[in-house]
């Protein structure tokens, strides 16, 4: 499990898959979810296999989640805002290429 070196108190919370997760306003979203001991953020379109953050720098797209109803957000590039509603992304991402 991830341990915190930064011992400042949490000042807000958000939900992931309905579960309340304590956090600090403005911190990295993927980091906050990982810290809550959640490893899988989404499932793949082809086989439904679970996936979680791999690169933490925006290149792998394994951290895709829905944020306040908006799909395809990369959790590793998002920041936490109190009360935000985050859902794992299941299956196909509607992405324009």
């Amino acid at each position: 499990m991830f341990q915190r070196l930064d011992l400042r108190e949490f000042d807000t919370s958000f939900t992931f898959a309905g579960r309340a997760i304590p956090a600090r306003e403005g911190e990295n979203l993927a980091a906050a979810i990982l810290r809550a001991d959640i490893k899988a953020f989404r499932s793949t379109p082809r086989s439904g296999a679970p996936r979680g953050p791999y690169c933490m720098m925006g290149v792998c797209f394994e951290c895709l989640v829905t944020v306040d109803g908006e799909p395809n957000r990369q959790a590793c590039l998002e920041t936490v805002h109190g009360g935000m509603v985050v859902e794992p992304q299941a299956g196909a991402a509607e992405i324009n290429r």
């Binding site: 070196l5 990295n28 933490m56 590039l77």
Partner: protein, 465 residues
């Protein structure tokens, strides 16, 4: 339309920041885009945030060396568009998206300084949740202050040792380091050692990291020839073979690393000429000695131009900006050469260590080309080595045919996670060189965006483009 900037820079890492500082020094107007919220790039990520004493001890002096540059950048008068992702560029224009919307910015010359990413590490089980890159573990440490108490590091290269040592300094020595550097690399690297001594501080730093791991009592398995990651819905354990013998350890987190490769999507999509770098095992753009690409309006600096690390990134950014100042007529060729010659000499000295390091840590064939048919190569579309082998047998000549048949490289990561593996695998299976096999044909947008965002970004305020 507002007046264009003289220079637009993509990336606020050491290369992009140094380019901006130099461009401003030559009197050029300058805008810098970075999808990250703060300047610094990979090495200096979050350096301005919480420079408390604790992190200095953990992250080391090379990390804090970035503070000067960040401050010079912030004082330079260059406009920093933080949290702004560039999804397309063309001559004279940059298309971007930020939290507050999307748009287009005009600029006479462009510097691409988008840095590097970690080389794909296609092992059986590398897609399991809980498996990440060593760089990802470092990002969690640097920007979120998180350390995993049960982590196994697997792979090779200086960054693997650096992150493992940073874990030790944070009071959480990794439970195991599985080192995949082929034993024969050392012999091959030795002839490069005398030259490497010109940049000896890198060698001392490397030896120091290994000493730190030993002092912390970290178990290191060397000369490992095969690795597999186990688990159903998440990582549970790792198996490895060395000297013909299999061993196993339980773990809930694995960090993989086998070197970094340039972020090629942007320059590839612009059809810049690229070369296969055999020693670094990666694609890199063909550049002139002032870092100008085969597109005359585009310069490429830092690790995107070929892996050379933070000090070289800084120098190459400044060199590119000087040449742009000459190209735009702000200075003449003599002035450029006078200012640029010492920078280029410093670059030569800094890079003296590269042939040694690159040969020593050159990843082994068996880890860049998966050996078993069920190993996933394209993570997004879940395409395996077996499927690639089948289309090679059926006559697919290169990655674009593999893409057409298998959707390999067509997911949201746009081939970043599989491109190098596909080139190497098709080369190994067909016996053709990597250069002949080629890479995926890239196109804009280089990051997935919605149709609405494309429309919002039409040049000339929607009056048609």
């Amino acid at each position: 339309m507002t007046a264009p900037f003289d220079v637009a820079i993509i990336g606020a890492g050491p290369a992009g920041m140094a380019a901006a500082v130099m461009a401003r020094k030559q009197g050029l107007s300058c805008v810098v885009f970075d999808e990250a919220g703060r300047p610094g790039g990979q090495i200096y990520r979050a350096v301005t945030e919480r420079p408390e004493r604790d992190r200095q001890d953990i992250l080391g002096p090379d990390y804090y060396a970035g503070l000067d540059l960040v401050e010079a950048f912030q004082r330079s008068g260059a406009e920093h568009r933080a949290g702004t992702m560039v999804w397309s560029i063309a001559e004279g224009e940059i298309h971007w998206r930020s939290r507050s919307g999307s748009g287009v910015t005009f600029a006479r010359r462009i510097v691409a300084a988008a840095g590097a990413m970690e080389r794909p590490f296609p092992l059986r089980g590398w897609t399991l949740p809980g498996v990440m890159t060593a760089g990802a573990a470092q990002i969690l440490l640097k920007s979120a202050g998180l350390v995993e108490d049960d982590i196994v590091f697997v792979g090779c290269g200086p960054l693997l040792y650096l992150v493992a040592a940073q874990y030790c300094r944070a009071g959480h020595p990794p439970r195991l380091v599985i080192e995949t550097t082929p034993r024969r690399n050392l012999g091959a690297a030795l002839p490069h050692l005398p030259r490497a001594l010109l940049a000896a501080r890198y060698l001392f730093k490397g030896l120091g990291l290994i000493r730190e791991l030993r002092a912390a009592g970290v178990r290191i398995e060397r000369g490992v020839e095969q690795v597999e990651l186990e688990g159903e819905d998440a990582i549970r354990g790792v198996r490895w073979r060395s000297g013909g013998r299999w061993q196993r350890a339980d773990t809930g987190r694995v960090a993989l690393h086998q070197g970094v490769v340039p972020n090629v999507n942007l320059a590839m999509a612009l059809r810049c000429r690229h070369l296969w770098d055999e020693r670094q095992r990666c694609w890199r753009p063909a550049l002139d000695e002032w870092n100008r690409s085969s597109q005359p309006w585009l310069w490429i600096a830092g690790d995107e131009a070929g892996i050379a690390g933070a000090v070289s990134a800084r120098l190459s950014g400044a060199i590119a900006a000087l040449d742009i100042a000459r190209d735009l007529g702000a200075i003449d060729e003599r002035e450029r050469n006078r200012a640029g010659t010492p920078l280029r000499a410093a670059l030569g000295r800094d890079r003296a260590v590269r042939p040694f390091l690159e040969t020593l840590y050159r990843p082994s064939d068996v880890f860049v080309v998966p050996q078993a048919d069920d190993v996933i190569i394209c993570r997004c579309e879940e395409v395996t080595r077996g499927e690639i082998a089948r289309v090679v047998k059926e006559g697919a000549a290169g990655p674009n045919q593999a893409k057409g048949f298998l959707r390999c490289g067509m997911g949201p990561c746009q081939g970043r996670m599989c491109g190098h593996t596909v080139t190497e695998t098709m080369s190994a299976l067909s016996g053709k060189g990597q250069e002949e096999i080629g890479y995926f044909r890239q196109r804009m947008p280089i990051k997935p965006i919605t149709t609405g965002e494309i429309a919002a970004s039409a040049p000339f305020d929607g009056a048609g483009a």
